[in-house]
C-alpha cells in the first residue's frame, strides 16, 4: 500500500498511517509496500491526514539501532521457529512467514535533563578483617591455627550537592514495553547510531503511545539510579544505600531511539493471525508455536474409519470361520480384531500429541501487544 498521509518534519519522505482495526499508528516510507498491519495483521492500515501538531507524543528520532541480521539469518530464524511442530497449521510454513516479514522500528524515549539536587546516603566501604579458625586433633599434635580474611562493609553517612547534565536516559515510549522486553529481550543500545531519515526507508516506524508526562516518572527513577551510582563513585565507595535526594530538573529534552524488530504471522486453525516477532539485533524469535488440532482431528478420523472397517471385517471373518468350522479363518479374524483395536487406539494419538504440544507451548506464550 502506498500512502499519501501527512508527513512529519525530521522523518524524511514518510507518511502517517493508522490501523483502523488495532488503532496503532506508524510512519510508513512512501516507497514501502505494506500489505498488513504489523500489529494485528489486518489490512486496516489507512493514511492519516492530520497536522503533526495534533500528535503531541511524536518527537524526532535522535538515534536508531540498525538491523544487524542478514536476510539469511532472518530466514534461518524463521525456519527454526517453524521446525519441530507436530501437525503444524497449513499456514505455518517458513516460506509464508518469510514472505510476510515486515521490518518495524519500535520507539523508546531518550531524555536529556539537567539535575540540581542535594542528596544524602550511606556509603559503604569494603574492608578486610583478619580472623582465625582453630583445629584441635588429639592424634595430630594439638592445635593448628588458620588465619582467614573476611570482607565486611563499613557504612558512613554522607551528604552532598549534585549538578549534572544527563543525556539519553531511556524510558518506554510504548505502553506495551514490558511485553516487548519480555518477548524479545534487551537491545544493545551501545550500537546506536545517529538517525537519518533514509535509515528507516525500509521499515515502518511505530509511533509512541506513551506521553512524556507518563514516561517521566520512569525517567526520574532512572536518573535517581544513575545519580546514586555517580554519588557512590564520587565517594569512591563500594556500596551505597538509603539514597535520598531533592532534585530539581531543568532543560528536559525528549527524543526517540528506534529499536529494530521484524514482524510476521501465520494463520491458525481458526484463521486468526498469530504474531511472530524477531529481535532485529539478536535474532531471537518470539511467538506462539501452535500445532493444528484440525489436522489432528482429520488424521484421527481417518485412523478411526480404518479401525472400524478392520474391526467389522475381522468380526465377520470370525463369524464365518466359526460357522464353517475353519480354524484358520477364525484365527485370522481374531488377529484382525486385535489390529483393529490397535489402530483405533492409535487414532487418539494425534489428538493427544497436538493437545500436549499446544499445552506446553501455552506455558511459554506471551501475548504481544
Amino acid at each position: 500500500m502506498t500512502t499519501n498521509g501527512a508527513s512529519l518534519p525530521g522523518w524524511g519522505d514518510a507518511a502517517l498511517v493508522h490501523c483502523r482495526v488495532c488503532d496503532w499508528s506508524f510512519l510508513q516510507p512512501r516507497d514501502l509496500q505494506v500489505t498488513a498491519c504489523p500489529h494485528c495483521y489486518s489490512d486496516g492500515l489507512r493514511p492519516l491526514a492530520v497536522d503533526h501538531d495534533l500528535l503531541p507524543y511524536v518527537r524526532p528520532a535522535e538515534a536508531y539501532l540498525p538491523f544487524a541480521l542478514s536476510e539469511d539469518q532472518v530466514r534461518a530464524a524463521v525456519r527454526a521457529f517453524a521446525r519441530g511442530i507436530p501437525l503444524a497449521p497449513i499456514d505455518l510454513q517458513p516460506q509464508r512467514l518469510s514472505q510476510r516479514l515486515q521490518a518495524v522500528f519500535l520507539p523508546r524515549w531518550l531524555v536529556d535533563a539537567e539535575v540540581a539536587a542535594t542528596w544524602q546516603a550511606e556509603t559503604g566501604f569494603n574492608y578486610d578483617i583478619v580472623s582465625h579458625e582453630e583445629r584441635y586433633d588429639q592424634n595430630r599434635g594439638g592445635w593448628r591455627t588458620q588465619q582467614i580474611t573476611e570482607t565486611k562493609v563499613r557504612w558512613e553517612p554522607q551528604v552532598g550537592r549534585l549538578k549534572r547534565q544527563y543525556h539519553n536516559v531511556a524510558a518506554a515510549a510504548l505502553d506495551e514495553k514490558p511485553h516487548v522486553r519480555r518477548q524479545l529481550g534487551a537491545f544493545q543500545t551501545a550500537a546506536a547510531q545517529p538517525f537519518r531519515p533514509e535509515t528507516a526507508a525500509h521499515a515502518l516506524v511505530r509511533l509512541p503511545n506513551r506521553s512524556p508526562q507518563d514516561a517521566w516518572p520512569e525517567v526520574e527513577v532512572e536518573l535517581r539510579k544513575t545519580a546514586a551510582g555517580e554519588c557512590r563513585q564520587a565517594a569512591r565507595a563500594d556500596h551505597l544505600r538509603e539514597f535520598r535526594w531533592s532534585p530539581e530538573f531543568a532543560d528536559r529534552h525528549w527524543t526517540l531511539l528506534l529499536l529494530p524488530m521484524y514482524s510476521t504471522f501465520y494463520l491458525d486453525d481458526e484463521g486468526r493471525p498469530r504474531p511472530v516477532l524477531i529481535h532485529g539485533q539478536s535474532g531471537r524469535v518470539s511467538g506462539l508455536r501452535r500445532a493444528s488440532m484440525r489436522r489432528a482431528r482429520r488424521l484421527a478420523s481417518i485412523l478411526a474409519v480404518i479401525a472400524a472397517i478392520l474391526l467389522l471385517a475381522s468380526v465377520l471373518a470370525v463369524a464365518i470361520g466359526s460357522w464353517l468350522g475353519e480354524a484358520q479363518v477364525q484365527a485370522l479374524g481374531t488377529a484382525g480384531v486385535l489390529v483393529g483395536l490397535l489402530v483405533a487406539a492409535s487414532a487418539l494419538a494425534p489428538l493427544g500429541v497436538v493437545w500436549l504440544f499446544n499445552l506446553s507451548q501455552r506455558r511459554h506464550m506471551q501475548v504481544f501487544l
Binding site: 580472623s131 582453630e134 583445629r135 586433633d137 588429639q138 554519588c231 565517594a235
Partner: protein, 418 residues
C-alpha cells in the same frame, strides 16, 4: 533532607566525580593531636592530675579543673582486627612527653616533661636515656583513672612490708623510703565469640551378661563461648604474676583517653604488639573452650578428641590501667611491689630475713635434737629418759616441718617459690 546544608559536623571531602560535592562527618581529630600543656591559668604553675578530685589541680595555687569527658565504662568503643583500623587508630600521646629507656631492665616509660628526677619504676635504676616519645605509636583510647591516692598507697605498702614476721627488721625503715611511682600500664582488651564443634570417642562401661565391657562410643557437641574484655598486659617489664595478683580491674570505670589524666603521671607504651596480644589471648581462650567441650562429654575418659573452632566478632581496645609500682633495694637486690590503682590490692616481692629463718631453725631443731639424743646415750634407761627422747624426736620432726614451711614462705616472699 537536612534543612541547613551542609549539616553541622560535616566537612567537605574530595569528590571523584565532577559536579558532585561531597560532605562527610568530620573525623575526630585524634591523629597527631596538638600538644597540650598543663600550665595553671591562675599562677602559670604546673597542674597535675589529682587522684582525690579526679581533675587537674595546680600544685602551687590549688586551682582545680574537673575532667571534661564522661565515664564510658565497658561500653567503650572497640575496634576490629583490620589493617585499615590499625592505621586509622589515633596516634601519639596527644601531649609532649619524654620517652625514657632504662638501660638496666630495658623498659620504656613516658613521663611529663616537667618531671626532672626519674628512676625506672620497674627496677629502680636511674640509668635511663631520655628521648621524645614517638607520636606514631598507637595511642590508647581509654583509661581507668587512679582511684587511690599516693598517700593511701604508701600506707598500704608500708603495712604490707611490715606485715610479715619473716620480713627483716630493716625493711621497716625501707618501707618509708620506697620509691613509689604512679604509672599507667598498657593493656589490650579483647572480645571474641568462639564457636566450636567437637567429637570424640567416649569410654562407656556396660555390663553384658554379668560381665563388664568397655565400649567406645562417638559423641559430638557444640560450644559457644563469649569472651568479654579479655585482658592481655601490654607491658613485658612487670612480672606477670604481680599483675595477676593485683587483679581484677574495674573496666566499668573506663573513661575516654584525655591527656589531662596523664598530667604528672608516668605511663608506659605497649611493648606487646596487638598481634602478639591477640595470639596470647587466643591460646588461652581456645584452651577454655576445649575444656568446656571435653566437659560436655558423658565421660571424662575419651580418645580421638578433635574440635574445630571459629572466632567471630573479634574486637580489641588499647587501654591504660592504673598501677602504683614501688621498687626498693635491700641487700643490693631490687624488689618490686605493685598496687592496683583502683582497688588497692597489693602484690609483690618482700625480702625474707634468712638469718631469722636460720636462727629459728637452729633454736627449734638443736634443743629438740639434744632432747632426743642425750637421754638415749647419756642417761640410764628409764621411763623418763624414753619419754624425753620421744618428745625430743617428735619436736625435731615438727621443727623440720616448720623449717620447710619457713623456707617456702621465705622463697614465696622473694618471688621465687610458687
Amino acid at each position: 533532607m537536612p534543612v541547613c546544608f551542609p549539616p553541622p559536623g560535616y566537612v567537605r571531602t574530595e569528590s571523584a566525580v565532577e559536579g558532585i560535592e561531597l560532605y562527610r562527618q568530620a573525623p575526630e581529630l585524634l591523629a597527631h593531636r596538638r600538644i597540650e600543656t598543663f600550665d595553671c591559668p591562675q599562677c602559670a604553675g604546673q597542674r597535675a592530675y589529682s587522684v582525690a578530685d579526679g581533675g587537674l589541680s595546680c600544685v602551687n595555687c590549688g586551682y582545680y579543673e574537673p575532667p571534661s569527658r564522661p565515664m564510658v565504662g565497658k561500653g567503650a568503643e572497640s575496634f576490629e582486627f583490620t589493617v585499615e583500623t590499625m592505621t586509622r587508630v589515633a596516634r601519639g600521646w596527644g601531649h609532649a612527653r619524654k620517652d625514657l629507656h632504662c638501660q638496666y631492665c630495658g623498659a620504656h616509660t613516658t613521663l611529663p616533661p616537667t618531671l626532672l628526677s626519674y628512676s625506672c619504676p620497674f627496677c629502680g635504676s636511674n640509668k635511663v636515656i631520655q628521648r621524645d616519645a614517638p607520636q606514631d605509636a598507637l595511642r590508647p583510647r581509654f583509661l581507668a583513672p587512679f582511684a587511690l591516692t599516693e598517700g593511701q598507697c604508701q600506707e598500704t605498702i608500708t603495712a604490707w612490708l611490715r606485715g610479715h614476721w619473716l620480713a627483716p627488721a630493716a625493711l621497716k625503715r625501707v618501707a618509708h623510703g620506697a620509691r613509689l611511682a604512679a604509672i599507667y600500664l598498657p593493656f589490650w582488651t579483647i572480645d571474641a565469640t568462639a564457636h566450636a564443634n567437637w567429637r570424640a570417642e567416649v569410654r562407656r562401661v556396660r555390663r553384658i551378661g554379668g560381665k563388664t565391657r568397655v565400649v567406645w562410643r562417638w559423641e559430638s557437641g557444640k560450644v559457644t563461648q563469649v569472651f568479654d574484655d579479655w585482658l592481655v598486659p601490654g607491658a613485658t617489664h612487670v612480672n606477670p604474676r604481680l599483675l595477676e595478683v593485683v587483679q581484677p580491674w574495674d573496666l566499668a570505670a573506663l573513661v575516654p583517653y584525655e591527656a589531662a589524666y596523664l598530667a604528672g603521671i608516668q605511663a608506659q607504651a605497649y611493648e606487646v604488639t596487638l598481634d602478639a596480644a591477640w595470639e596470647s589471648a587466643r591460646r588461652a581462650m581456645r584452651e577454655q573452650v576445649r575444656q568446656r567441650c571435653r566437659g560436655q562429654a558423658s565421660s571424662r575418659r575419651m580418645r580421638n578428641f578433635s574440635m574445630e573452632m571459629q572466632y567471630r566478632d573479634e574486637n580489641w581496645r588499647y587501654i591504660l590501667l592504673p598501677l602504683y609500682l614501688a621498687s626498693y633495694e635491700h641487700n643490693r637486690r631490687i624488689y618490686q611491689v605493685a598496687v592496683n590503682g583502683q582497688s588497692g590490692k597489693i602484690g609483690g616481692q618482700r625480702p625474707a630475713d634468712w638469718r631469722k629463718v636460720l636462727g629459728l631453725t637452729l633454736a627449734w631443731l638443736l634443743p629438740s635434737l639434744l632432747a632426743a639424743l642425750i637421754p638415749a646415750y647419756f642417761l640410764p634407761p628409764s621411763d623418763l629418759a624414753l619419754t624425753v627422747s620421744v618428745l625430743g624426736a617428735l619436736l625435731f620432726v615438727a621443727g623440720l616441718a616448720f623449717t620447710v614451711y619457713m623456707v617456702t614462705t621465705a622463697l614465696r616472699m622473694e618471688g621465687k617459690g610458687r
